[in-house]
Each structure stands twice: as structure tokens, then as C-alpha cells.
Subunit: 178 residues, 2 copies
């Protein structure tokens, strides 16, 4: 065991990272923030936690509305993930810019994303500051799946078990080979 930098250590345990989108809406505005920093955090009631930078427009929409949708993109949404992750919802309407279809959810004001593999409706049940991010804990109130399931988009490394989908701007997206 050798002491090393965190950046070097991360190369060994950070991939694959499944990707999800936090979707939020408030006062007629809405946005989408792709993120890899999420985890299950309760079985009963079912909850997931996400880490979102306060610099993100989506962060403010979640904080103000107390609600969000977690949407899981498939291999056809790598370009949309890149666009939503590298532009701000303060400047563009991401559903329009990424050619995405918003559908009404049942339990929350944030929209579902019709093109995603699955959508979870979440109510913020807790939040805390963690360094330069905020943890939002979402109680899962409803779940939706696409009629035409795709393969889940991940951040990947150079292993051969993936089909590489998109490599651009320092990101490398792929799916596990099936």
C-alpha cells in the first residue's frame, strides 16, 4: 500500500459512474443538472441523496421548490447530457435546447423527462452543506419507466466491457456491453 494523491487513487475506483439528471422547476422556470454524485440512502421510506453545487441553477430550483425529479438517461442521451452539464439553465431552456419532452409528474411540480429510461419523483426530506456542494435527500414518491428501455449511460474508463458513446470536453460516456 503506497501513499498517493487523491487524484491518482480516484483512477482506480471512480468508474463506472452511473449518470442521472436532477430536474427541478419553480415559478415557471425549470432546469436539468446531470450528475454522478448520487446514492441510495434509505430503504424504508425509499430515499436517494444527490450532491449539487450551489452554483447550479438547478440547485436553487430544488432549494426553493423542495422537490425534484431524478431522471436516468440512456445511451441516446449522451449529447443532451453534455449540453445540460456544460450550459446553465439561467441562460438556456434545457428541454428546448436538448430536444427533450417534459411530462407532468403526479406528486411533484418538476417534470418527468419522456426520453429517459426512468424517472423518480422526489420530495426533499433533508439537506445539508457538504464542502462545496449541498446534499439533498429526496424521498421517492413515484417511479416511472420508459416503454422502450435503453442502456444506462455511465461515465466510463478505457475498459473493454463498455460501448463508448461519446468522448468530448473531458467527458467519456458509455454503456456496459450487452
Amino acid at each position: 500500500m503506497q501513499k498517493t494523491t487523491l487524484a491518482e487513487a480516484r483512477r482506480h475506483f471512480s468508474r463506472p459512474e452511473r449518470i442521472c439528471w436532477a430536474v427541478a422547476a419553480c415559478d415557471g422556470r425549470r432546469s436539468i443538472c446531470p450528475l454522478g454524485w448520487k446514492m441510495n440512502t434509505s430503504g424504508s421510506p425509499p430515499m436517494m441523496a444527490i450532491s449539487v453545487s450551489p452554483l447550479r441553477f438547478t440547485h436553487d430550483l430544488i432549494a426553493e421548490s423542495g422537490q425534484f425529479v431524478l431522471a436516468f438517461p440512456g445511451d441516446d442521451l449522451a449529447d443532451a447530457t453534455l449540453l445540460c452539464g456544460t450550459r446553465s439553465g439561467r441562460d438556456i431552456e434545457k428541454f428546448a435546447a436538448a430536444h427533450l419532452t417534459a411530462l407532468p409528474a403526479e406528486q411533484v411540480g418538476a417534470p418527468l423527462v419522456a426520453e429517459c429510461i426512468a424517472n423518480l419523483e422526489c420530495r426533499v426530506a433533508g439537506r445539508m452543506t457538504s464542502g462545496d456542494h449541498t446534499i439533498f435527500v429526496g424521498e421517492i414518491l413515484g417511479a416511472w419507466v420508459n416503454d422502450r428501455p435503453r442502456r444506462l449511460l455511465c461515465s466510463v474508463d478505457a475498459a473493454s466491457g463498455y460501448d463508448l458513446v461519446l468522448e468530448d470536453k473531458g467527458y467519456r460516456f458509455g454503456v456496459v456491453r450487452q
Copy 2:
């Protein structure tokens, strides 16, 4: 988009789940709790968050010591992961039971695991209750990597991009093919 159960929806977005071990020690006792419920949660300072059931012995050791090590097992540690995940540290000494080597860390009292791919020394910087689990936010104080890196152990599904390592007791462990 069809409404469904969370269990059904999870089939589409829950794998692969990288596995890590939370390792903690207090008052001469120590334990290892394998978990998939973890995420990065801050870039600067670097932090990771984990979700641990209060029923776990490791939970109490983390809560009492305010420290833990996150260790990342490779494909040679599937049996050890299963053993550590299905037995309690109240009943067995897991390093001995799983034939693991504890090494002293530099910044925390919890030991490093010599056989793991990487180890992170973490100080608890925040905690909150999230349903039936506790979120511990750990500031990463040090990082270690193994001289002989292995492939990272994951919970996997039936995709062909994995090499299956162990399937037992409802768990399915594998590594991304390289």
C-alpha cells in the same frame, strides 16, 4: 413513460454499483461494512458521503470515533465482501475471519486494508439521519493505493460486459471486462 413500482424501476438504473467498504475502529474494536450507497459530495475540500444502517456495528464505531476508512475491494475480495456484509462485527473479528491485513493509517485510527485497491482516510465532517440510514460525510485526509492494482468489484446485472466473480445469497458481484 409508464408508472411503475420503484422495485421495477430500479432494475433499469441500479447497476453497475461500485462497492466500497467502510472500516472503523473504536476502543480496541474494529469492523468492516461493505456498501454500495456512497457518493462524492465535495471537490474542495474533497469529501465522500456514505449511507450506513444504524443496525450495523460499523455505524456505531464511526459515530463514536468520528473517523473511518473507505477501502475499495478488487475482484479477489468478493468472498470477503460477502462475509463482511452478511456477518456482524459484534460477533466476529472481520479482519481475521476474512484473512485481511490491517495497516495503520496516518490521519485516522481506523486501519487501512492492505489487500484493497485503494484506501481513503476520512474524518466525519457532517452527519444526518436519512430514513432508515445515517449519512456520514467524510473529509478525505489521505489516499493510498495498492502496488498491485486489481479490477474494482461491483454489484452487476446480466450484461455481457462483466466478468462474473461470485453469485451467492442474492448478491451478484463482477468486474467490468478489460
